[in-house]
């Protein structure tokens, strides 16, 4: 009796989840459906759920009209280099806050948490002035460096590293290992789950950044995919098929990253102990 009702409940839950999942997927399906629709169908007053004709013209025009390859390369470069710098700096910094006692530690930690709360629009112009002064405008570094410090990552790393046993580090110190050596040889290998979490989130943020690159990158050839999307969307007469085609292109790499790492994501977050 009881087993049967549990089975029924499971089926109901499962059905609910699947319906919810279909709803979640629909906008993404709609991006794809619009991207392959011929221009003449897009503004029809009566909308067919499935495009009557499938065309690749939107992708082809996009390719011919815009420096698509440059946008993709820029996005990839910014995201990959950004991930390396941010994840490494976060690990080093989070480790320090978790495992060292030093004067000013709490003040510095709260200052960093304070940085998490600064809305970008507030500091957009001063930050732009500094970036301009450093000569970084219109370069990928002008996007990477100002965004390289991520308070959220430091916070997560600290949570995770608190649980690394002190004895392990002390033993290495007694063996005469240098601090940096301890960090790279002992701490990092233990931190794989949190590294996976940081990689996913940082990649996602850098890949999708908008407000900041919008002011730093003005040269079309230097644009990233979201800037390209904004350009197409804001045009006097947007070509919606092409807009959606570009949105779809921007989505694909994130999907791959996510499918590759999603297994570690839950584990990684679980491993921070969430305290």
């Amino acid at each position: 009796m009881k087993a049967r009702s549990t089975a029924q409940a499971t089926t109901a839950i499962w059905l609910g989840l699947v319906i919810g999942a279909l709803l979640m997927l629909f906008p993404i399906y709609w991006i794809a459906a619009t991207a392959v629709r011929p221009r003449t169908e897009i503004f029809d007053a009566v909308i067919s759920l499935v495009p009557a004709h499938v065309t690749w013209e939107n992708f082809i025009y996009l390719w011919r009209r815009q420096p698509l390859l440059a946008w993709m390369t820029n996005s990839l470069f910014i995201a990959i280099v950004g991930v390396f710098i941010t994840v490494f700096a976060n690990l080093l910094c989070g480790y320090t806050f978790a495992k060292f006692k030093f004067p000013g530690r709490n003040i510095l930690f709260f200052a960093i948490l304070g940085a998490l709360m600064i809305p970008i629009q507030v500091i957009l112009v001063p930050e732009f002035l500094i970036t301009a002064w450093l000569g970084l405008l219109n370069t990928p570094w002008g996007v990477i460096l100002p965004r390289a410090a991520e308070a959220f990552g430091i916070f997560m790393v600290r949570q995770f590293m608190v649980s690394i046993p002190d004895e392990l580090l002390e033993a290495a110190r007694l063996d005469g290992a240098g601090e940096f050596h301890i960090f790279t040889r002992i701490v990092l290998p233990l931190s794989r789950p949190i590294i996976a979490v940081l990689v996913i989130f940082t990649f996602m943020w850098r890949w999708n950044d908008f407000a900041w690159p919008l002011v730093v990158l003005t040269d079309h050839e230097q644009y990233t995919l979201p800037l390209g999307l904004n350009l197409l969307r804001g045009e006097v007469n947007p070509e919606w098929g092409q807009v959606m085609a570009l949105a779809l292109i921007g989505l694909a790499p994130m999907l791959i990253i996510f499918l590759l790492f999603q297994r570690y994501l839950v584990q990684g977050i679980a491993s921070t102990g969430l305290k």
Binding site: T96, I118, F258
Partner: protein, 313 residues
Amino acid sequence: MGGLMDGDANHGKAALPGHRARRWAVQRQKLIPYVFIAPNIVLFTTFSFLPLIYAFYISFHDWSLIGDPEWLGIHNYTRLVRDPLFWQSLRNTLVYALSTVPTSMAIGLLLAMALNRRLPGRTFIRSVYFLPLVVSAVATGTIAAWMFNENYGVINAALVQLGLGRISWLSNPAWALPSLAVATLWVRVGFNMVVYLAALQSIPAVYYEAAKIDGASGLSQFRHVTFPLLAPATFLLLILNVIHSFQVFDLVYVMTGGGPGFSTTMVVQYIFKSAFVTSEMGYASAMGVALYLIILVFTAIQWRASRQSESAL
């Protein structure tokens, strides 16, 4: 520990090994944490704190961005206190936060609990719920505006098919914020689900076995075991979601531009408009400083509340 002394120690190291070298080693050990956090501190100082200080400085000026700043004293702050639009945008921000944070967390928790049991296709379903998070806010706003469009959007087309009337999703002040909230939920539910899922998995099974032996029902298990043990995750999500809500920009910028009327004008929107549309950078900075302080206070309150509840447990 003065830098000069370290320099001396370093200098004499070759001549006198032993005592001095050991003193240097101790000094160096003390410096290591600072060296390790230096990259982040340098980056934060250059690209966050200095700009924040500069924004604070500018908030006492009248600056059109393209001309030269002029000293105004505290005028921008007195104006802010009296500006009904600032208060309305703050209210909108609070309404937005209140309508998205608890809902997206509750849905995230429900999903996490449902997906924490063995189900066919579990991994795939989890991925689907997380998926929207990887879509950029610009793309989300674009697709949402596209679907919510009153005249050729798919949602109204569906309503018409069902024999219902069209709804002015984005041009009726009563519907614009709910539309925005739906788009927000689409994005944020997945993140909350993943964090809760992680938290659920770190609850030792022993607790549930104990609860079962005590004959606790499903609901009371949730109330007395699951929910209290999820407190750290709830706390983390609350802080992150609230901060996120106070900073929402791209989505509004693309979907409604702050309209109709002022119904979706958030503080950040108003800051942007003052800076770039009416060229009042000083006033925009004053609002920015105020918003920063508000977020800081909110977070501090949440922090204290969670500390108290933890010590009460």
